[in-house]
Amino acid sequence: MAANTTETMTINMGPQHPSTHGVLQLILELDGEIVQKATPHIGFLHRGVEKLSEHRTYHQIIPLTDRLDYLAPMSNNLGYVLAVEKLLGITDDIPERAERVRVIMAELTRLKSHLVWLACHALDIGAMTVFLYCFREREHITDIYEKVSGARMTSNYFRVGGLSEDLPEGLDSEIRAFAESMPAHIDEYEGLLTGNRIWQKRTIGVGEISAEDAIDIGITGPALRASGVDWDLRRDNPYSGYEDYDFEVPVRTNCDTFDRYKLRLDEMRQSSRIILQALDKLKPGPILADCPKVVLPPKQDVVNNIESLIHHFKIITEGFKPEAGEIYQGVEAPKGELGYYLVSDGSTHPFRMKIRPPSFVNLQALPQMVEGKLLADVIAVIGTLDIVLGEIDR
């Protein structure tokens, strides 16, 4: 009698695969369609951002942070400039207008990132129309980005001590119109997905992770809150004046893909609320802190005032020198806690910069979430974790 032997099939999913959201490689061991073992391989997009930072002045690092999570550049900028400001001890000197604009842009960034997430997540599961609807709205945000910073993706907008430029005239009403229209658009996406039986079947009970496991792994952001842990840095460790705004932190308890989907949509609604509140509170005023050793003086002063000229020359040619010390600053980026750990040796560039990217930590949950599930669930889980490889590989 011939013995029946079964073999598992090893399949390389990625780095060239339409649904691995970049250059993630997953080595899957499949028994039929059931995933026995999943091993993520990362590093295909490694650009050495942390090492490069050690040879740049503090201001020159901001454009590098744009390229971490390239779907949410302003959140990366924000985390970095907050860390440097903390290191310099000028956190309290940031003018109110700059903080309001930072919050507006950070929340627009959250919307932008979540829109791309929903678009790709839905496309991965097969709903093509949502993809284009989401990109329609994202296009508005990129337009706003362009008007604010000149770039559609790599914004490089925030500066240590404030902003690079003030908002162009009339843009606040454009942002307001967009933020007001957003909830209706979210309802539109929900109309296509939430009640759809196929969508529910594909997401409910898929990729579950318990609150304990999530905390053990260090998951942050929507994935943590969908597992029932009420933790949001904007509320629990506020920065940039987030304590002034009235917003809710949505929490859900089913730990599955569907709950993460609903939770992110709720977050998008809250983001529009925050944007509208920040626009209401936005008053004319300076956009840069009054710290001449750190902040570049206005161009007009440079040509008229010898002191400003000297400061300008020193900051441009050498950079500023924070005191020796170390600092950690975390912000609630769209994908979770984005942390910057800076060590200064008193020179013009950081001795060490360690980035804690949320995607990198959240990706660790993937094997646990997919093992024993079907191949199609791997796609759903990659989508629901909302990873960006630029941030994982740095």
């Binding site: 339409p18 599961i125 097969g126 129309t129 759809n196 196929i198 796609i379």
Partner: protein, 354 residues
Amino acid sequence: MVMTPEVLTLSETPWLFTGVMLGKIIVAFVGTLLIVAYATYAERKIIGRMQTRMGPNMTGPKGLLQPIADGLKLFFKEDIIPSQAHYLAFILAPMMILAPAFISIAVIPFGGDLHFTYDGTLYEVPLQITDLNIGVLFIVAMAGLGVYGIVLAGLASNSKYSLLGGIRSTAQMISYELAAGLSIVAIFMLSETLSMRGIVQAQQLPIWGIESLSFLPNWYIFTQPLAFGLFVIGSMAEINRTPFDLPEAETELVSGFCTEYSAMKYALFFMAEYANMITVSAIAATLFLGGWGGPFFGWINFLIKVFAFMFFFIWIRATFPRLRYDQLMFLGWKVLLPLSLANIVITGIAILLW
């Protein structure tokens, strides 16, 4: 004097018969090919509209030359055969998918009878290539053959994603063919014939044999709504349309069974997909919507019904996400199959009682 029309036969008027037959074959074949080409255009335009974008609009007026440009492009592309692929099977597979899709058109009646006089005799020509007395069985058999192409493509590519696609399609097609096939059994029970033409003619009788209701068409969609639903869902799965496009599932299997194909072979898969869509729409129009019957001139009615179905399939694609493999199997075996069996039993009881 009213002449009774004569039916063309091979034995009495061989040349005329051959000529008319060739004419019908060319019309049906070229018509299908044209619809295939412009179905791709229509799909892109319609889905584009639904997704707030333009669709093709640069090639020719309103992008109307896009299908031709696509065809030309694919025709001139390098035809890559992977070194580890099974050569013969790899080449054969796309043809094995396309041929059955076109063959099924042969038994579909696309219009009523055409009358013409030749040499003083009035002849009658049915607008159908051939009226097999087991037409529906023939179609089911051809649909079954089409699966081999996909399986073969999956196996011959010698690629793991293709293999998975091939396996998925085997399981899927077998399960859904069963449901779709059983759902139309109820139609035969009502029409008491397997000939496609006979089924259409049965639908031209007054509904339930009641003369006073003759303003209502006796289309089987009214008497057999459940069978209609089952057939549409089953055939959607059989032709790999969303939400049942698992064998090619681009985001999971990187196009599944056609991952390794390029150039014209790849185009053949797509032509087959659209040809299958046309075939299924034509079958549905014939079996459930009274074929060529309707307010307009014969074949125009038929085409309207076919296009309505194709629009429906395209619409579905813009709306639904994809099912998962196990859910697909569950739906096929535990929902659709029992329902179609129950439908047969209920129809049987109804026929016995009335």
